[in-house]
């Protein structure tokens, strides 16, 4: 009996007769009646086992030797082929290498010379710069010293007018005798009238102003 699924799927084997009348589909589990059935191990007699082992060993040995023979032959052939062509290519490569190294060494030597020249120029420039800097620093220092000494001179001259403990009383007397009034007033025109008690002549100022305006 064919399974229903296979009948549906296939168009071809309608007329083909199967060897077995019936076979359980793969996806079905073990039949209930066969769950606990344990198949018997095949019994092989000792003589037969030894004979089979001998035959198998012979077969394996022969096959291995054949395989190895072909493998070694392949390697040999490959190496001979390579050496024939590689000798030529190796020579070419060595020549190429020598050419490259020579070219490169020439380039490197040239670069070294150029660098040396450049370094010299750089060192000279650096030296010049340092010298200039030192000179400029010197000039600056001298200027500062001169400025400071001038300041000292000026202060020394001024020191004769300083108030000291000796002439303190005289200075106080002088200050008391000559009081200074810092108060002042400003009119609308920006004229400054110093002193707290200064008298201001308004009219006179006005007449003067008008006269100057008409003139």
């Amino acid at each position: 009996m064919l399974s229903q699924n296979s009948l549906l799927k296939r168009t071809w084997p309608m007329l083909v007769q199967c060897a077995e009348a019936h076979r359980k589909p793969r996806w079905l589990p073990v039949a209930k009646s066969k769950i606990y059935r344990i198949p018997k191990r095949p019994v092989i007699s000792e003589d037969e086992r030894l004979e089979l082992m001998r035959l198998h060993n012979n077969y394996k040995t022969q096959m291995r030797s054949i395989r190895r023979f072909y493998h070694e032959e392949m390697i040999k052939e490959k190496s001979t082929r390579e050496s024939a062509s590689s000798e030529m290519s190796q020579r070419l490569e060595a020549e190429e290498w020598a050419r490259c190294v020579e070219l490169n060494e020439k380039w490197n030597a040239q670069v070294a010379v150029e660098r040396e020249e450049r370094r010299k120029l750089e060192v000279a420039a650096l030296e010049e710069y340092a010298l200039k800097k030192i000179e400029a620093d010197d000039i600056k220092l001298k200027e500062r010293i001169a400025k400071a000494s001038e300041e000292i001179k000026k202060q020394k001259e001024l020191s004769s007018t300083f108030i000291t403990p000796e002439n303190l009383d005289a200075a106080i007397d002088h200050a008391l005798a000559n009081p200074i009034d810092y108060n002042f007033a400003i009119d609308l025109k920006g004229n400054k009238y110093e002193g707290r008690d200064t008298q201001i002549q308004y009219t006179k100022a006005k007449e003067e102003k008008s006269a100057s305006a008409t003139a």
Binding site: C100, L103, N104, W107, N108, V111, E114, R115, R118
Partner: protein, 167 residues
Amino acid sequence: MPFMKGRAPIRRTLNYLNAGRLVLKDKIKILSVAYNINGQNNLGAKEFVFWYLPQIQYKNPDVQVATLKNLTPSPFIKCYFEDGRKILVDVDNKSKEEILEHLINTVGKSKDILEQESIAAEKKDNPANFGIGCERPCICEVYGQVPCPGVVPLPKFMRGKFKNATD
């Protein structure tokens, strides 16, 4: 990286990368560039890294390209070969074009070899072939051919189910 962002995004366009002229020899495994960012003598090396390193890396995907920034007093380029040999190129105070020319002359493949290789790469099998390892894996990709029945069912007159129907 977004397409038109960053400094000189032209460096990432395919046309620019393909225009690189330095294809290193097969035996070169590492290319290292040492340079400083200060100084007039480092300017060429710096610009070389900026402009030509993307092209070099694109053209030589199997080469490790390393940069050593501000680690050495003077700029140089070092190439390491697979058998341990080294080539040291002093690039002090050289412009990026000079550096590139020199590298092409020394560690790059020559023009003849490049031409030979491009010709060898162009040689392919018959373009009409299809299948594994060919240009197209299936003939159904060609316009006008019958599509694969797994993708689109065959027309009925081609199918045995309908061709061989008995009733």
